[in-house]
Structures are given as C-alpha cells and as structure tokens.
Amino acid sequence: MRETRFQVDDRSKAFGRRSMLRGLGGGFGSLALAGMLSKTAAQSLRPQLDTAAGVSSPLAARAPQFAAKAKRVIFLFMEGGPSHVDLLDYKPELARLHNTKLPFTELPQSIREGKAERPEKFGNLLGPLAKFKKHGDAGLWMSDFIPHLHQHADKLCVIKSMVCDSPSHAPAVQQFHTGHPTLIRPSVGSWCAFGLGSENQNMPAYVAVSSPAGNANCGNAFLPAAYQATILRDAGQPKNKQKVGYLYDPENAGDIQRIQLEHLRQMNHAERTEPGLDGLINSFELAFKMQSEAPGVLDLSSESDATLDMYGIGKSNQDQPTDNFGRQCLMARRLSESGVRFVQVTETGWDSHYKIREEHSERCLSIDQPIAALLGDLEQRGLLDETLVIWAGEFGRTPLVQNENGRGHNPWGFTIWMAGGGVKPGFSFGETDPFGFEATTNRVPIHDLHATILHLLGMDHERLTYRYAGRDFRLTDVYGEVVNDVIA
C-alpha cells in the first residue's frame, strides 16, 4: 500500500507544479517565470526553472484532476443575508402561526441564548412576506418576490439546509469566500484560478465585477499574486469608464506607445535582468494585449437592444431599478464567455433588521430580472451546461420578527441555489424545521459547499493544496464532504 500512497502524493505535487511547467500552451512565455519565481521559500511551487526548456504562464489553462462537470463559475453573492423564509424556503406552519408568540422554551437554543442577537429584540413569528407557489415541472416552491426566476425553476438546484459558523457579517462573508471566518485564506475564486488557470491568456482568471466589503474576500492570501481577483472599478456604471485599472494611455496614443515599447525592448535587452528573466519585457507585451482585448469584453455597447432589455438595462433611463445589477450580470456573462474562470457579482443591502418587507422587495426587484436574464442568456448561448451559477448570501434570517418589522441573522439554516454546470436541475435538497430556524436534514456546511464546487470543476478538495509556512493548505482545511446528492 505504501507505493500507492506515494503515487497519490506525487500526483498532488505534480498538479501544483509540474503540470504547470509542462503545459506550455503558448501563453505569454517567460512571464510565468517571474510569477513563479515570486515564491516564498516555504511554498510548494519550486520549479526548476533554470533547466526547464520552457515554462508556461501561471494562468495557462490546466486540465482538471478528473472529468469536470463545469468549466467556470459565476458567483452571485447577496451580501447581508437574504431571508430564506421569504424567498425559497416555504414554511406553511410559519404562515399559519403568523404574529403569534412561540413560548420561550420552544425557541431554539441559539435564539434563547442570544448567540446572534439579544433575545429581547425578537418578537412574534413573522409569516412569509410574499405568496409562495410551486413552479416548474419540478414544483419548486418560490415566492412572488422573485417572479422572473419562476420561469427558471426547472434549472435550479436549491439547497435549503445551509449552515455557517458565524452569526456576524464579516466573519460569515469571509467564511463563505475563503472557508475560514477569521484567519486570512485564499478565496474560492483564487483556488479555482490556481487549480485551473485561465482559458484566455489575454484575460485574468478571476474577476470580481463587484466585490463584497473587504477585498480580502477576493484575495489570494498566500497563493501567488497571479491568482488574485481583478476587481473591476465602477462596475455597473453606465459610461464606458475604466474598469480594469490603467487600461488606457491618458492621451490614447497607441502609436506613441508602440515607439516607446520598441525602444524599451532594445534598452532592456542591453540591460538584461537575471538569466531566464528576460521575459520581464513580456509583461509589457501582455499588458498591451490586455489593453486591446479587455476593453472590448468590458464594453456593453455592442450588445443588442433586446439583450439590454432582457437584463433590464436602461438605455435612457439609468434610474431603472434593474439597471446596475443588470449591467453587472451582463458583464459577468461577457467575462465568462471570454474564458474567465471565476466571476463574482455582489449585491448588498440584504441586511434587513428593521424594514424587511420594503427592503427585500426593493432588492428583489433589482436582481430578479437580471438573474433570470443571465440564466436564459447562458442557456441560449449553450454556456449554461458548463457554467456553474451560484446564488447565495452569507446566512439567512430569523422566522421571528425583530425590531417590529425586521428579521435577525440566521446562520443555523438558510437557502442558496445553484444552476447549470453539473448540478441537478429542478431539485431541492435539505430541510429546515417547520419555522425555518435551523437546518434539520442534510445539513450543508460551507466546507461541503466548497468541496462540491471544486468537485464540479473537476478538482478533489483534498488534493488541491498549496504549501505555505510549512504546511499544505486547502480551501476546506481539514473538513468538507462533497454533497453528491446535488450533482447530476
């Protein structure tokens, strides 16, 4: 058995290092070198660069460890904690007992002990704020807060039994993105970029159209910087603003820049850097390539009116509630289509402690049509099968009313959905108790979700490791089980 174990070890190492070196897929040549030389000595990426005949980019596309169901991810993150009991987790018992008081002793321990918020802030049960009906052939329960999404019921794989480890926003958001609530770890997008590279060498592997509060949530932590998110600026803004930093020459003088680059090449040739590092020049070449490709990808003006309408993007009226999120979703589709491995879009404003009815209906109004458009658009373009779309907040909300018209934080049971990329369509998994306080069957912790996402992308979460500070780190730390039940 010993031999077998060694093989496994070797393979997992090769995955981190040799395959990166071997897969010389054109790319931008020795640019990679510099990226890879940027190792801390304690890292596992220790390529024998000097003898390698050639090296590929750290972003070169890499084959997954096993056959993948999805090639890329679009992550729609609802920051603040959307209310599962008002959107997707239908609780008839909660509706029936609306505005009645549960005896203190019948409340879950988490509420009684004030694990998230002070118990005295909570009042009666608050029934669902919108009507629920079954939709699609699968008969998924969905509320009228999200009417556009009804038509896609048969694409959704809903998980109603999510749990996370912290009742506070920052740690919970961080755990959703990095696996750990407080310590600094690479985000799931960075792990995907590290594992699979980018399908398009003129584009980054990981793009955040908009990132949640705390850029560390999209950070590469100790992974090489090539795997950090490129965070778009002014995303969702109507005008053609600069979305990746420094994409344009201030005078827009491409001809002059050409002359500069030619001379730069000569000057640098005379002043070579370290052996094998001459490719530094190439980073300017790549920058030049990005200058030519990225603005096109980021420019929505080539989209048809029909598409803009579908996403709810206001051609003249930018105050249209769907305008901003519509632009972001359309941008996500364009980025995905161009080969970006992991795209994140974030919508804030879900933390409704006081006026949940008004605030949630506003939020839903902004996101519902754009998300429905995104799913339809991906399907129409034949991209949905290989694109995993994830919709989630960091936690859900309490079935009890808080501050008279709000709901509190609920990390003990909440709902997310996925679509496309290898998940069971029109499927519901897991349950909460009759009121929606806590997940009761098939609990899915964040680590399990992460393990599942990696699995769908063809990676074993236990073998996607990176050696740092003397140990092999994983997205799932020492936890995580793939939720096979949701995989098609």
């Binding site: 910087a225 730069l264 530094l280 003397g470």
Partner: protein, 776 residues
C-alpha cells in the same frame, strides 16, 4: 512507531492526555479511555496496521484505521470496530488469528498482551480521539518531529574562517567564506561593479533613495582622487542618516505586520499605530542593540525607565503585540482574544525564531518541533497581559460620512512632554493583568476550540529549544519579560541566526537561508552554514547585537560590490547565483519605487509627518478602496503612508501592485513577481505620466533653447539623472532618435509642446526600463 524513544515524547503524551479530558463523544470517552487509547492502542495500530490501512489512495480491503469514523465504518468485510462489542468487531476476530480467512497482521500474530489491550479497548467503548481524517502527507509517521535533526537548533559557535587559494581577492572574512565555497565549485567572482552602479546600489539599499546627479558626480570625483576610503565614508554617512531608519525600520515593520487599520466589518482604525511606526524608525536610527530592541518590543512596559520620555517610548514599543490582527466585529469575545493571541504568537515565532508556532494551536506541529503544550505555555503568557491597545474607542465608529485621510494637519498632535506619559499610557495600555485574578496558566484548547478544554499547561517556552531556564515563571507576572529573556538568551541559537540571515537578505535580496521566515523542517537549509553562523556570532558577540556595524561589514565586502555580469559557463554550475560570484539584480521594491519617482520629480517631502493616520469615519458599509489620499500626503516617503489591512485604497496602487506586504501577516519575505497589472500601471498611470511631465518641464527650463547639439546633451543629462550613470554615446543617440520619432507624431497633431512632450515620453520610457527599475 518510535514515539517512546524520543526525548520529547512525554510532551506529546501529556498533550494527548490533556485532550482526552475534554473530548466527549457519544460513547463513553473519558480521559482514562483516551489515555488508554493513546498509550496502548494507537501504538499497535501504527506499528502493525497503518502500513496497509491508513492514508489516502488504495488501502487494503477498503479499510482505514487511522481515524475514528473510518475505523468504525470498516472495510469491505464489515465493521472493524463496534464499540462495546468485542466479539462482533472484525478487528478482534482478525488479530485473534482464529478465522483462516481473516488473520491480521498477515505476517505475525500480535502478542497476547496486545490482543488483550485491543479487546479491553473495544469493551471500553473504543474511545478514540482521532476526529479528523489525517492529511495525506506527514513527515514522520505519527509523531513529533525530532528536534535534534534540525540544523537551526544546533548550538551556535564561531566557525573557523576557511583558507582560500586566491588570497588577493578577499577584502574581509565574509569574502573568505564565499570565495572558499566558490573555489570548491571552480567558480570565479566576476569583476567589481563600476563606481556609478555601486553608489546607486548603496543609496537604494541603505537609505532607499537614489542619489541626485550632482551628488553622484561629487562622489565619483572624490573616489577617483582618493580611492575606496570614500566608499567607507559614504557608508558611514548613510548609516548615520535619518533616512536609514526610514528604509530599515520598514523591514521590521513588515515583520510586525504594521498597519493603521484593522480587519472587521466596520473597518476599525489602529489610530495610534503611527506612534509605533515612528518609534521603530527612531530605534533603527539610534542603532539600539537588537536584543534590547526585542525586550522592548515584547515587554517594554515592564522595564524600568529613567525618564518620562523613555517610559513612553518603551510603552510604544509594545505596539509589536498591540498591532495584532483581530476582528473586533466578531461577536464571540473569547474567539477575538484567542485569535489575537494566535496572531501574536505567529508574529513572534516567524519574526524572531523563524518557526510557525500557529500550527500547534490545534495539534502538535507536523513539521516543526512545537507541541500543543508549547503553544498553550506561550499563549498563557500573552493571555495574562492586556494588549488590546491601539484600537480607537468604538464610539468613534458611527455615521456614514467619509472624510479624507490627513497627514500632519495637527489635528491630534502629541501632547506636551508633561502629558506624554499619560497620553501614551492611555492609548497604549499594554499592561499586566492582576496577579491571582487573570494572570494564569492556560488549558490546552482541543483542536483550537475554547469549548473543549484540556489540562492546564504551565506558562513557559518551546521545549525543543534548549535554553536553561532564564528565571522561573513568577506567579504574579505574565512572563513576557521572561519570554523576552528567553528569546535573547545566549543559549537560544535561533534569533541571532534568523536576524543575521535577514540582514543578509535585506542587503542581497536572497537569504543564505532562502526561506527567511522558516528555519524549520520545511524551510531551506543554509547555502553557507558556516558563514551564517559567523554572521550570527559576529552580530551577537562582536557587535553586541548592533545591526549597523554588521551591515557596514557586509556592504564593504568585495562580494557585495561585485558586478552583475553574467557568465554562461558559471551559470551552468550555479544557475541561481547562490554562490555570490556575481551581483543578483533586484527590482525596486514598492517603497523604493515610490520614493525614487518622487525624488526624480522633485516632489518628495523629506520631513517627518506628525502623523499620517487614516482620518475617516467608518460604517458597516464603508469600503476604503475608494478613499482618496490627498496628493500632499502622497508626497511623503512610502513608509509614512497609511497602511490598510482591508480594502487598500486604489490611490496606493504604486505600493500595492509592487508587492507591498499584506499587513495581515508577519512576513519578512517580499515577493518579486511580474504581472500585467504592474506593466499597465507603469505604462498608463497618472503617477508615471505626472513624474515624467515634471521632469521634462524641469529639464526644458534648465536647458533653454534648441540648438542642434542640444538633443544629445539632454539625452546625456537624462542618462546621468535617471540611471545615475553617464552611459555611452550610442545610448544617448538612441534616446535622441526615440525623441525625434515621437516629436514628429506630436507635431503632425499640431501639438504646441511637441518637443517637451516627446521628451516626457522618453523620460517615461527610461523610468520603466530595467536600468531604472532594477538595482544593478
């Protein structure tokens, strides 16, 4: 399994026993139960079963016995372990050797005593603390790392300086070590660097700024007349310059994970951190012995002081602990404290010992000789101190108004001398907790959780580092002073080795130990072990822990002053240049780039700002990345710019993109990578265009007119100005041809300032070329 033979085995066993107390499972898993497992059962499993029934990949019969769940689940034949049911547990049937189809271990039957132990264990309900599936890789089979094998823990002794064949080449003993190694490998040092490159190298390395063209000329003229003495004088001048601390203090700030804001949803400010930053700069300028510096960093508040000034400086020094990374918005108060302590231990471990202690929070370290007991022995020391200072009072964090960052506006000036101690003591209330109340030893936190407490571990240090007890741990003090003494003890070989190596790294760009923060099993061994020990002993004993004289010795060595020329043949022998036969070029680091650009444009403000703390109001939805940093603030040296732990403002891209460290970790290693985003910044950012415009304007103003020969004169001037070297005529002519080609384009556009703009583009190109971007 050799646990029992190891000298440190008792530590592990006590640790394990501690865990036992708190581990409660469905079955009766009392402490005795787990102790029984650890003493009797685990060794049998490891020695006789794990070879085929553990780890990832194919295990025989699908059975794994290396963690609880798998053992109970069993393999293809059924449940291996059924708690309480001796007869039905297949494990027992197998070891009894009564069933011909099921005899384990296959080669030899276990002893009767061993079989009895296994039966007894099952009867007890098979208590088993092995919750988590072990990760695939392990250095030793299942135990603690053998400390005696770790090179960095061996006693530190002055090595003999080796003899060399070519006795003319070495300038000092450092050269002798290096040359001896080169000679063994048949390598020859290349030529010395030319004087211009050497002067620029010294400037950027020692004070972090490039020399002006005029100053360069003066130095080179003097050197031509009076020879190498001039270089020595130059080095002495720079070591005495206040600019030195601004460069070298920053090296320490990397290790201290210095920042002006903390993590957490409402973006808390570390509003007084700047006092610590200035303190570090001052201490580096003063040349305080490093052992004293360490004591102040860890226990400054406990030291006697002769004046208010001294007392407040010593208090401020403990900002090293107070800057801990903790998320104060986490609701779990215990967790905040424990995470803060973890960060402090990790910072102390990495910066001073080159060991990552944090791993031992949940389990004995897998690679380094640090046990969970060691961890909680150290943690108890920090738990007994209140070091949550520096965070501004929470009441400040309300309102959604975002104002700007200010610098030196005098909004919160340091109070006058009389109030200084009171002020500092209020802001830096690093202090001992009360004896008998909060000063106490800690319990082992099983798997790092305070919800599962193990046994008490007396406060103390890492057992594997053999330092005879400094002084007994007093019951009425936290033990920080003793910790500082332990760190600086002459018997502790790590801090001098780690620090000497860091100084080498900061001067050469690569450590003799390449993994500058990792002197453990997973780190790299030193390329020149004797030289490292020579430097460490020299630092500690000869220079009395003073850093400046060691820097002086190294930069005056011939090896440091070598040229960067390549040699194809020697590259084959030593492709990475670890043998120091040539200078290894390095790119300017973030601060060097920022400071150099400002120096070039003439915008640099070389004054000490009173404070550059972030001045903004914070809310839950605040995102600092869009925070504007005023241009006036941006003109200070990079070391004085505010540092953000989350949401770094885009205005600081000049630092962020060029690998300014992440202030959430203590890290002594600066990455040097090349990314397209950096190239985009260099090509298109305002910073570069602004700098080159100012330079072009300045040059045009100082050389008015446009005679035919003027282009070439200007090109020569730019070469000296930007590259710090006169260069050659062919190079000047190339610049002229670039200028003319670009000028033509501007002229066809009808640009009135075509010539100046063309020069601006030439200057821009020179600034982003390797000659400027690298220290050669």
């Amino acid at each position: 399994m050799a646990v029992k033979k190891r000298p440190t085995s008792w530590i592990m066993f006590t640790a394990v026993a501690h865990m036992a107390i708190a581990t409660v499972h469905a079955t009766d898993e009392s402490s005795q139960g787990v102790t029984f497992f650890e003493k009797k059962v685990r060794p049998i499993l490891i020695d006789h079963c794990y070879k085929c029934h553990a780890g990832e990949g194919k295990v025989k019969g699908g059975l794994r016995l290396d963690f609880r769940k798998a053992a109970r689940q069993g393999g293809e034949s059924g449940h291996a372990v059924i708690p309480g049911n001796v007869e039905k547990s297949l494990l027992i049937q197998a070891v009894r050797y009564k069933n011909d189809d099921l005899k384990m271990p296959p080669k030899r039957k276990l002893s009767d005593a061993q079989i009895a132990d296994l039966e007894q264990w099952i009867k007890m309900g098979a208590p088993d603390p092995r919750e988590a599936k072990p990760s695939a890789k392990r250095t030793s089979k299942d135990g603690l790392i053998d400390a005696s094998k770790l090179w960095s823990l061996k006693p530190l002794r002055m090595p003999t300086v080796p003899a060399v064949k070519d006795t003319r080449w070495p300038r000092n003993q450092i050269d002798q070590f290096l040359l001896a190694a080169m000679e063994r490998k048949k390598l020859r040092p290349v030529k010395d660097a030319d004087i211009h490159r050497l002067v620029r190298r010294l400037y950027l390395t020692l004070i972090g700024l490039p020399p002006s063209a005029e100053r360069m000329q003066l130095i080179v003229d003097a050197w031509r007349k009076r020879g190498p003495k001039i270089i020595e004088q130059l080095v002495d001048q720079m070591l005495a310059s206040p600019r030195f601390g601004e460069k070298w203090g920053r090296h320490w700030l990397d290790l201290a994970r210095y920042a002006d804001t903390n993590v957490g949803s409402f973006h808390p400010k570390l509003a007084n951190a700047w006092l610590y930053r200035n303190h570090v700069i001052q201490r580096f300028n003063e040349g305080m012995p490093f052992d004293q510096f360490i004591v102040e960093q860890i226990a400054g508040d406990l030291l006697p002081a002769e004046s208010d000034q001294q007392r407040s400086e010593q208090l401020i020094a403990t900002g090293f602990l107070g800057l801990s990374v903790r998320d104060v918005s986490e609701r779990d108060g215990h967790q905040i404290i424990l995470d803060g302590i973890d960060d402090q231990l990790e910072t102390i471990g990495r910066s001073l010992l080159g060991l990552s202690i944090g791993c031992a929070r949940c389990h004995d370290h897998k690679f380094d000789p640090i046990t969970t007991s060691d961890y909680y022995a150290l943690a108890g020391i920090l738990r007994s101190s209140a070091t949550t200072h520096l965070v501004e009072r929470k009441s400040v964090f309300n309102g959604n108004e975002v104002t700007t960052i200010r610098a030196g506006t005098g909004k919160s000036k340091l109070p006058g001398r009389g109030d200084l101690v009171a002020h500092v003591a209020r802001e830096f209330n690093s202090k001992e907790l009360k004896a008998g109340n909060r000063i106490s030893d800690m319990r082992v936190h099983v798997a790092g959780s305070y919800r599962k407490l193990g046994a008490v571990v007396p406060r103390g240090f890492i057992q594997a580092i053999d330092v005879p007890h400094v002084s007994p741990m007093p019951s009425d003090q936290s033990g920080r002073l003793q910790l500082a003494q332990w760190l600086t003890s002459a018997q502790n070989p790590l801090p001098p080795r780690v620090m000497a190596n860091r100084i080498w790294y900061w001067l050469f760009g690569r450590g003799l130990v390449e993994s500058v923060d990792d002197f453990g099993m997973t780190g790299r061994p030193p390329t020149h072990p004797e030289l490292l020990d020579w430097l460490a002993v020299r630092l500690r004993d000869h220079h009395g822990w003073r850093i400046k004289p060691l820097i002086r010795e190294i930069v005056l060595s011939r090896a440091w002053q070598l040229g960067a020329e390549d040699d194809v043949n020697q590259n084959v022998i030593d492709p990475k240049g670890v043998d120091h036969w040539r200078w290894r070029r390095r790119r300017l680091q973030a601060e060097q780039l920022h400071d150099s650009l400002l120096t070039m444009s003439g915008e640099l403000k070389l004054v000490l700002p009173k404070q550059t703390r972030p001045d903004y109001e914070v809310s839950n939805t605040f995102n600092a990345s869009t925070l504007k940093i005023p241009e006036s603030t941006m003109r200070y040296r990079a070391v004085y710019l505010p540092v953000f732990r989350k949401d770094v403002p885009l205005d600081l891209d000049v630092l962020t993109l060029f690998n300014f460290p992440d202030s959430k970790f203590s890290s002594g290693f600066r990455r040097e990578n090349t990314l397209p985003t950096q190239a985009l910044f260099l090509l298109n950012s305002d910073r570069l265009h602004r700098t080159s415009s100012l330079m072009a304007a300045k040059m045009m103003a100082s050389t008015p007119g446009s005679t035919p020969g003027m282009d070439e004169q200007r090109a020569a001037y730019l070469t000296l100005w930007i590259y710090g070297s006169p260069g050659q005529r062919s190079g000047h002519l190339k610049l002229v041809s670039m200028k003319r080609a670009i000028q033509k384009i501007y002229e066809t556009r009808g640009d009135e300032h075509a010539e100046e703009r063309a020069w601006q583009r030439v200057i821009h190109t020179m600034l982003i070329s390797n000659r400027f971007m690298f220290i050669s």
